[in-house]
């Protein structure tokens, strides 16, 4: 699916040259090297993940939603509403100049800390599946740790960017990102018993510092400490130890074995799907059998209904997203862009991997949602906000600004940045301007920038 979408861009490129047909290795490679490629890759992959997510949330939640509320659409309509909010924020965020993003760094992180702390006030929701990271505001629930992730990325990138010359000094790198912000946020999240989110936060911090250029020796030391910390936290909970046992112990012969229920039923779902899937809406495991079918285990339902093409597409989309992030990081001339893109990449990819690894039995079941796909309002809104930042970063790349900016009306620009499948857009207004942009990005020029 991704290649088709990419192909449509290519076809346009081919028209521009008005000679060679599309779909040659050269033309694909050439387009990928263009400075606008990251922007469109982010746009298309995130749009497809979000779209797939909505469809699958509807399918996976329909049965459970009907049982608990009498309507198959209750969960889905909620999700749709959050998607609309998230997309709006993403559009706004993508158009927001990067200096504004930097300015938001401090307020955002304070807000995040405040909300995270509010979990322990009467506003906090009682334990949900052993997890206390919820706020109840105006009849709706909010998971502040999701917004903590984006806040941490923006804050970390902004702070570290200003310190790029002193980054080799570890205390410069650590204050104030690790001490106190990172530690406090992490502490609050772990206090709320949400190990999964805690791991993502640690990964984001690590990714930021790595991208900032903190000497590798520190990672070895801190990595060891972190591993010990995780081991300590895991050993401190019978539930977590059981999950690790289930993961590594090879004990799950049947769903009746203690602790194996979810793992085995996720495998059942994937196996039921087989090569080509049972068909959209046909999942069996969503009939109350597999817990959290529309949430942490949505990949199992995707695999069940859409088969291997469906589940591999999700992997491929995240791979492309990773590639796009990497391109932003490597093409960026500005330290903030590079760091923020790294942070976002680590966030999305680490979370996706932990989720997918849990579902397919290659990791213990940690319980994080699949970014952009799983149901959950806070997670979706925060992730789409992250997509907005990523698009803003992609737009700021040298060459991209010229290629993307200043064409057409504001309305068209806004429309163009809405995460929607690319072929839907009219190619009309573009053909005229394209040659100018194309000439600016010869392969040689692009490579030079990468360095």
């Amino acid at each position: 699916m991704t290649s088709i979408a990419r192909g449509s861009f290519l076809q346009r490129g081919g028209e521009d040259k008005s000679a060679t047909p599309a779909w040659t290795m050269t033309s694909v490679g050439e387009w990928l090297r263009s400075p606008v490629a990251p922007y469109y890759l982010v746009l298309v992959t995130t749009a497809m993940l979000t779209g797939l997510g909505l469809v699958m949330v509807l399918s996976a939640s329909s049965v459970g939603s009907y049982t608990s509320s009498g309507s198959s659409y209750t969960v889905f309509l909620d999700q749709l509403m959050y998607a609309a909010i998230g997309v709006t924020l993403a559009v706004v965020g993508s158009r927001l100049p990067l200096r504004w993003w930097k300015r938001l760094a401090w307020p955002a992180v304070f807000m995040a800390l405040l909300l995270q702390a509010a979990v322990f006030t009467p506003l906090g929701l009682d334990s949900y599946q052993g997890n206390r990271n919820w706020l109840s505001i105006g009849g709706r629930t909010l998971q502040p740790s999701e917004f903590g992730k984006i806040a941490l990325v923006v804050f970390g990138a902004a702070v570290l960017a200003t310190k790029r010359r002193v980054i080799h000094k570890v205390w410069q790198a650590s204050i104030p990102l690790i001490f106190p912000v990172g530690i406090v946020l992490l502490g609050l999240v772990l206090q709320g018993n949400d190990l999964g989110t805690g791991m993502i936060l640690v990964a984001i911090l690590g990714g930021l510092l790595w991208a900032a250029g903190l000497p590798a020796r520190w990672f070895v030391g801190v990595g060891a400490v972190a591993a010990l910390g995780v081991a300590f936290l895991a050993a401190g909970s019978a539930n977590r130890m059981q999950r690790i046992q289930v993961w590594l112990g090879n004990i799950c012969d049947s769903p009746q074995v203690d602790g194996c229920y979810q793992k085995v039923h996720a495998e059942y779902a994937l196996a039921d799907g087989g090569w080509w899937g049972l068909g959209l809406g046909e999942s069996r495991e969503k009939w109350g059998i597999l817990p959290e079918p529309h949430n942490d285990f949505i990949l199992a339902i995707i695999g069940e209904e859409l088969g291997l093409p469906g589940s591999l597409s999700v992997l491929l989309l995240f791979a492309v997203l990773a590639y796009a992030c990497f391109r932003i990081v490597s093409q960026a001339e500005d330290m903030f862009t590079r760091l923020a893109a790294s942070g976002l990449m680590v966030w999305f990819l680490a979370q996706a991997m932990i989720n997918i690894g849990s579902v397919i039995g290659m990791l213990p079941i940690i319980g994080v949602p699949l970014p952009l796909v799983s149901s959950g309002g806070s997670a979706l809104v925060a992730a789409l906000l992250g997509v907005g930042l990523l698009l803003a970063l992609a737009r700021s790349l040298p060459g991209a600004r010229e290629a993307l900016g200043g064409r057409g009306s504001t309305a068209r620009r806004t429309f163009a940045s809405v995460p929607a499948p690319a072929p839907a857009r009219t190619p009309a207004g573009r053909t005229g301007r394209k040659p100018a942009a194309t000439t600016a990005r010869t392969p040689a020029a692009a490579r030079k920038r990468v360095r």
């Binding site: 049965v63 049982t67 009498g70 990714g207 790595w210 049947s254 769903p255 039923h265 495998e267 059942y268 779902a269 994937l270 196996a271 039921d272 799907g273 087989g274 090569w275 049972l278 809406g281 046909e282 999942s283 069996r284 495991e285 009939w287 109350g288 059998i289 695999g303 088969g307 291997l308 589940s311 591999l312 992997l315 995240f318 791979a319 990773a322 590639y323 990497f326 790294s342 990449m345 680590v346 990819l349 991997m353 997918i356 690894g357 397919i360 039995g361 290659m362």
Partner: protein, 603 residues
């Protein structure tokens, strides 16, 4: 490096997905399916039992039992249109169920609070599928329904002993339900389906159904109207007479088919809590001493063997000493001059002995057996007894046995055996096995009529005719049972007032008062039998107790069938003779008194 790491991990994941979804999928998927599969039996609809006109006598309908899981109902909340919570838990569920079904809210609440099991409470044992659909739409948490088939008996207690009933487990108990069970029971089907966590069917999942084969319908020879009428008439009489119980039967003479078979007291097939004692079919299962109706057998034997003729004069003494015992008639009388017809019509015990004692033990026994006593009738209904006819020289044979057997005491038989004697005579001497089944309707709706069995000739047409002539004198004005007469028709019949052996003590106590007869006498259509056990009020004589019931049922049957009333005056036969009159065919001077059969001591 970070990117390469990502790609590496994602490639590993992809490989795992290919393993899970592709390479290893088949066996895992089979295990998954196995865990979800459930089997539900589809009950086969039991065939309908109808009367001869197709009116249902026993019919199955699908019903629902509403059950609740109280552990789930506790969490139920009832909201109004604005979403405000109106009631919660048991109270809310009871309110909704009460609104939909009209059941008492307090009772429902109590059932929820005192459930049969931890997660099982029967709220409504029997509602229609429509009611359940309405209730289901209210979406009350924890409520579900079990499907079952209910057997309805439109005639209720009027036909209950005959039809039997189907118990809670779907097993037949007694009557036609038991006898025709194999035919009525279809083959249950089976549905294999995938079920979700709460046992609900996964609609998109596998579903294989082997449909149930409904049972065949059975059409009885019973006429529902007549059955009800007979039951009602009998019930009234048994109550009036303060009797133990009674039976009534209507049988078609030429086919042997039973058109009505009523018992009273009876039972309500819809009432599940009854003892088997209450639910027996007494008309089929009871065995009693027939009394005077059995004189017909003696008379037929004597006529067939050429010992007597219809008008043979018999001098009936005041008392008749035989086997060391003085036999008398029911009412004391001086010496009577009765023809043989008169002996039977007046039901004289002594006359019968005098006329037939020449038969001898063995011939009498053979004739009794030939009429079907001592052998099960073979109609197939459960619980039938052969009765007991003492064999000459057997263990229960005594010196008085041959004499008492002539007038129907000292031997026992079932109601239908005795009715069978009358059917044989009414049918020109050919006995037919009584049957209840007119035909069957198979699953495709094809009706197959049951063939009428070949009969057995018991007596000659002439003997049958003579006996009919004699019996016409009984239910007539001036006869011994005027109350059994049916206006407009010529009826032949016989009363009986037999000493009855008490079932508990084994001694004689009370009587069995019966009347069995057939009409129209010229071309008999129906045999009707009525027997009342141990009447305590009104009278003890069969003609008085059972005669009117006989007449009432017979009249209804004949009129319902549209049988033409008789156009000729009733046949009269001389019952008495003048002992001084000249004996026909004898030398002059020989009077009837001279040639009359008299007590000349034990032959």
């Amino acid at each position: 490096m970070l990117l390469l790491g990502c790609f590496l991990v994602l490639s590993l994941f992809a490989a795992q997905l290919v393993r899970l979804q592709g390479l290893d999928a088949a066996s895992v998927s089979a295990a998954a399916l196995d865990g979800r599969l459930a089997v539900r039996s589809i009950p086969a609809e039991r065939g309908t039992i109808t009367d001869v006109n197709g009116e249902p006598l026993a019919i199955s309908s699908e019903r629902r039992r509403v059950v609740a899981d109280p552990t789930l109902v506790v969490d139920y909340t009832l909201k109004d249109d604005e979403g405000e919570i109106v009631a919660e838990g048991f109270a809310a569920a009871a309110q909704v169920v009460s609104e939909v079904t009209g059941a008492d809210r307090g009772t429902l609440l109590e059932k929820l609070e005192n459930p049969e099991g931890d997660q099982y409470a029967i709220l409504l044992p029997d509602v229609s599928p429509q009611t359940w659909q309405e209730l289901r739409q209210r979406n009350v948490r924890g409520l579900s329904a079990e499907s079952f088939m209910r057997r309805d008996y439109p005639l209720g207690e009027a036909a209950a002993p005959l039809l039997g009933w189907v118990g809670a487990g779907g097993l037949p108990a007694g009557g036609i339900e038991l006898v025709k069970d194999q035919m009525l029971t279809g083959t249950p089907g089976e549905a294999v389906y995938e079920q979700g966590r709460d046992g609900e069917m996964i609609t998109t999942g596998l579903y294989e159904e082997e449909p149930a084969q409904p049972g065949e319908d059975v059409r009885l020879s019973i006429d529902a109207d007549l059955q009800w009428y007979a039951f009602d008439a009998l019930r009234t009489r048994v109550k009036e007479a303060g009797a133990l119980r009674g039976y009534a039967v209507v049988q078609e003479v030429e086919t042997g088919r039973i058109v009505a078979l009523a018992n009273y007291p009876t039972f309500d097939p819809a009432e599940p809590s009854q003892t088997s004692e209450e639910m027996r079919n007494a008309a089929i299962e009871d065995v009693y001493e027939p009394g005077s109706t059995a004189k017909l057998i003696t008379a037929a034997a004597a006529l067939e063997e050429g010992i007597v003729e219809r008008d043979t004069p018999v001098e009936v003494p005041v008392s008749l000493p035989r086997a060391g015992r003085a036999f008398r008639d029911v009412e004391p009388h001086p010496i009577l001059h009765l023809t043989f017809a008169g002996v039977i019509a007046r039901s004289s015990n002594m006359g019968t002995i005098l006329a037939a004692e020449e038969l001898g033990d063995q011939r009498l026994y053979d004739w009794i057996r030939r009429f079907g006593l001592g052998t099960p009738v073979g109609h197939g209904l459960p619980g039938e007894s052969a009765g007991l006819v003492p064999e000459p020289g057997g263990t229960i044979w005594s010196a008085t046995t041959p004499y008492t057997m002539m007038f129907g005491q000292g031997l026992s038989g079932s109601f239908l055996q005795q009715v069978g004697v009358f059917q044989s005579i009414a049918n020109d001497g050919v006995r037919l096995t009584p049957s209840f089944v007119q035909g069957t309707v198979d699953a495709e709706g094809r009706y197959t009529e049951t063939t009428v069995p070949e009969g057995t000739r018991v007596v000659s047409e002439g003997t049958a005719q003579t006996l009919t002539e004699i019996m016409q004198q009984i239910p007539a004005t001036g006869g011994t049972a005027p109350l059994a007469a049916v206006d407009g028709y010529h009826v032949a019949g016989k009363t009986s007032t037999a000493d009855r052996i008490d079932e508990k003590t084994g001694r004689y106590s009370g009587v069995t008062s019966s009347f069995i007869g057939f009409a129209p006498a010229e071309d008999p259509k129906y045999v009707v039998g009525v027997a009342v056990q141990r009447p305590t009020k009104v009278s003890r004589f069969g003609g008085v107790i059972s005669g009117p019931v006989f007449a009432s049922i017979m009249r209804y049957a004949l009129q319902k069938e549209g049988v033409e009333p008789a156009s000729t005056p009733p046949l009269t036969v001389e019952l008495e003779y003048d002992p001084g009159a000249r004996a026909p065919g004898e030398p002059s001077g020989v009077t009837l008194g001279d040639i009359a059969v008299k007590d000349e001591g034990t032959p």
